[in-house]
Subunit: 343 residues, 2 copies
C-alpha cells in the first residue's frame, strides 16, 4: 500500500490528474501519450497506469474507458505534487474590491468574500460568520421600542453585532436603558460570551439583598437579552454553479448535494474542523462527505486578525476542480478578509 512511487509513476499520475482536471473525461493511455509529452509509448504508460491502479490511485469506470484519479490520487496531488499558482494581479484586484473594506459591516464583508470567490472560481463560495460562542463581550446597548419592548444589541470584541427584541414585565425609560447599558457593559467587559449569562446570574444572586432598583432591572434585562445564544451563519454563494459540472448530469446526485448544502449542519461541522485546525484544510471527495458519491471537495481556511481565527472562508466545488488555482485564491481571500477585519 505505502509503496513509494517511482519518479516516473509520479509524473504520470501528475499528468493524468492535470489532464483529467482540464478535460473532465477519463484519460486513456494513448490520449496521455499524445497530449503530455512523454517519451514513452502508450503501451508503457498502460503498464504504469495499471500499477497506479493497483496502488489505489486510479480507477476506471469500466473496462475500456480510460482512467480517473481517485480521492487518494487527489490527496497525493494536493499534498506533494501540486505547484500552486499565485493569483494574478487582476484576481488580486478583484478580491480586494470584492470585499468591501470601508463602511461595510462584518456580514457584508463576509458575503462579499464568498461572492468574489464564487465569481473567480465559478464554484460555490462559502463563508461562516465568527462563532458567537468563542467571542468576548464588548458592549451591550438597549433601545426602547415601545411600552414593554426593548431591543437589546450586543457587540462583541470582534465587532460582531447581535440584536434581539425582549419583552419586559416592567416599564423602563430610554434614559434608564442608557444607564443599564453602561452598567452592564462595565460589568461584563471582556468576558467570554459563554460566561456572560453566568456572571449576570451571580451578580443578581449577590445583589438581591442590597438591591438597587436600576441595577436589578439592568441585570434582568441582561438575562433576557442573552436568553437564546445566537448561532453562526453560513453564506453560500453560487450554488447554481454545480449545474455546470458534468459530474452532476445525474439529477439525483445534484438533489442530494443541494439537500446537504441547504441543511447546512454537515457543512458547519466541516468548517468547524477547519477553524479548529487553524490552517487551510482541503477535504477531497468522500473526505468532505458533502455528496454521497464523493464528487465534491471543500477548500477552506480560517480568517481573522493575526493569531485569532474567527471563522472560515472557502470554496465548494467538484472534486475535479483546479486546486492549483483555487487554493491560492482562497488563501488570498482569507488574507484580505482578515486585514479588512483588522481595522
Amino acid at each position: 500500500m505505502a509503496e513509494p512511487l517511482s519518479d516516473r509513476a509520479r509524473d504520470v499520475l501528475h499528468a493524468i490528474i492535470r489532464e483529467y482536471i482540464s478535460t473532465g473525461g477519463p484519460v486513456g493511455s494513448q490520449q496521455l501519450a499524445r497530449t503530455s509529452g512523454f517519451e514513452v509509448s502508450s503501451a508503457t504508460l498502460r503498464n504504469v497506469m495499471a500499477d497506479l491502479e493497483d496502488l489505489g490511485y486510479l480507477d476506471k469506470p469500466h473496462t475500456s474507458a480510460g482512467r480517473v484519479p481517485t480521492d487518494r490520487a487527489y490527496r497525493f496531488y494536493v499534498d506533494t505534487l501540486i505547484r500552486l499558482r499565485d493569483p494574478n494581479p487582476r484576481e488580486r484586484d478583484l478580491i480586494q474590491r470584492g470585499i468591501p473594506s470601508s463602511g461595510a459591516n462584518l456580514e457584508d464583508a463576509l458575503q462579499g468574500a464568498g461572492r468574489i470567490l464564487h465569481f473567480l472560481t465559478r464554484h460555490a463560495g462559502v463563508v461562516v460568520t465568527p462563532r458567537p460562542t468563542s467571542g468576548t463581550f464588548h458592549r451591550i446597548e438597549f433601545v426602547r421600542l415601545r411600552e414593554g419592548r426593548v431591543l437589546a444589541i450586543l457587540v462583541d470584541q470582534d465587532g460582531q453585532v447581535h440584536n434581539r427584541p425582549v419583552a419586559l414585565d416592567f416599564e423602563i425609560s430610554q434614559e434608564e436603558l442608557v444607564r443599564a447599558s453602561n452598567y452592564l457593559s462595565e460589568l461584563l467587559e471582556r468576558l467570554p460570551l459563554e460566561q456572560v449569562r453566568g456572571r449576570i446570574e451571580a451578580e443578581l444572586a449577590q445583589d438581591q439583598a442590597a438591591y438597587d432598583q436600576l441595577e436589578a432591572k439592568a441585570l434582568k434585562l441582561g438575562l433576557l437579552a442573552t436568553g437564546v445564544p445566537p448561532t453562526e451563519k453560513v453564506f453560500i454563494e453560487g450554488t447554481g454553479s454545480f449545474l455546470e459540472a458534468p459530474e452532476f448530469a445525474d439529477i439525483e446526485r445534484m438533489k442530494a448535494l443541494f439537500r446537504t448544502l441547504e441543511e447546512k449542519t454537515r457543512l458547519v461541522a466541516l468548517l468547524d474542523r477547519v477553524q479548529r485546525a487553524r490552517e487551510m484544510q482541503i477535504f477531497i471527495g468522500h473526505e468532505s462527505d458533502l455528496s454521497p458519491g464523493g464528487e465534491v471537495s471543500l477548500v477552506a481556511t480560517p480568517y481573522g486578525p493575526a493569531d485569532r481565527s474567527l471563522g472560515t472562508v472557502g470554496v465548494i466545488g467538484p472534486t475535479r476542480m483546479n486546486y492549483q488555482r483555487v487554493i491560492p485564491l482562497v488563501q488570498f481571500t482569507a488574507q484580505v478578509l482578515s486585514s479588512v477585519l483588522e481595522d
Copy 2:
C-alpha cells in the same frame, strides 16, 4: 379574443388545469374523459379543447401530445376559477412554529417564514427585508471599538437594525459616544430615513458658528454612519426544490433560472411591485420573467403591521404549481409574520 367562455368550456378548462397540475404531463381528451367524470365523450372534449386552444387557453407541445394550459389559462384559473383551500390545522401550526416569535430578531423571523414556506410547499420560499429607505429613524447608538474606530448602530421604527463601522479622524470616548447618541437620536427621531442625512447636514451648517465641540463630533459621526445607505436583502430558501420539477429536466433552463435568482435584481424588482400594490400578487410564467421559458411563477404578498407594508414574502415555483394550496399558505404566513412583527 375576449369571447366569454361557455359554462362547459370553463369546466373543461378547470379540469384540464387541475389534471395538469397533478400529473405534470400534457392532458389528452381520452385521459380527461376517464379521470374527471364528464358525461360526454372524448370526441366532444376534443371539440371543446380545440376551441379553448383557439382562444389561447391551451397549447400543445406537438400534434399528438395532449394539451397544456397556457399562462393565460392559469391567469383565468387564478382569477376566477380557483377555490382556495385554507391551510389545515397542521399547516397553520407549522407556520406558527416556523416563525420564531419571541426572542428572535427581525431577520430570523423573516428567514423562518421563508423556510417554512419552502418546507410546506416544496418550492422556493422568498422573503425580502423591509426596504430601508421607507423606514423612519428611531435611534442611533455608538460603540467604541478601538482608537479611531466606532461602530454605529441605527435602529428604525420597525425595529430593524443596521450596523456599520466608521473610521474617525478624531478621538472620542465611550462616554462621549453615549451623549452623541442621545443628542442625535433626539434630533432625528421619527425622521424618514431618507431625510436623515439632509437633516444632519443642515444642522451642521447652522451650528458651524456657535459650535459646541461635542455636538459637532456627534453630527460628524452621524454623517459618517449614514454614508452608504443600506439595501434590502432577499432570502431565498430551498432553491434546490427546482431540481424536483420535471419542467427543469433541461439543464440549460435550470442554469438560466439560477442565474436570475442569484443575481436577484429582477426578483427584487418584482417583489417591489408586490409591495407597492399592497396586496397579494401572482405572476404567472412569463409574467414573472424569472425564467426565459416562462416555467416559473411567483406568489407573493406584503407583510407588515396593519396598514404599513414593510416587505414581501412569497413562493417561487414552477408555473404548474398547486395555486389552490400555495396561495392560502403564503397569505397565512404573511399574516403570522405580520402579527409577530407587531409585537
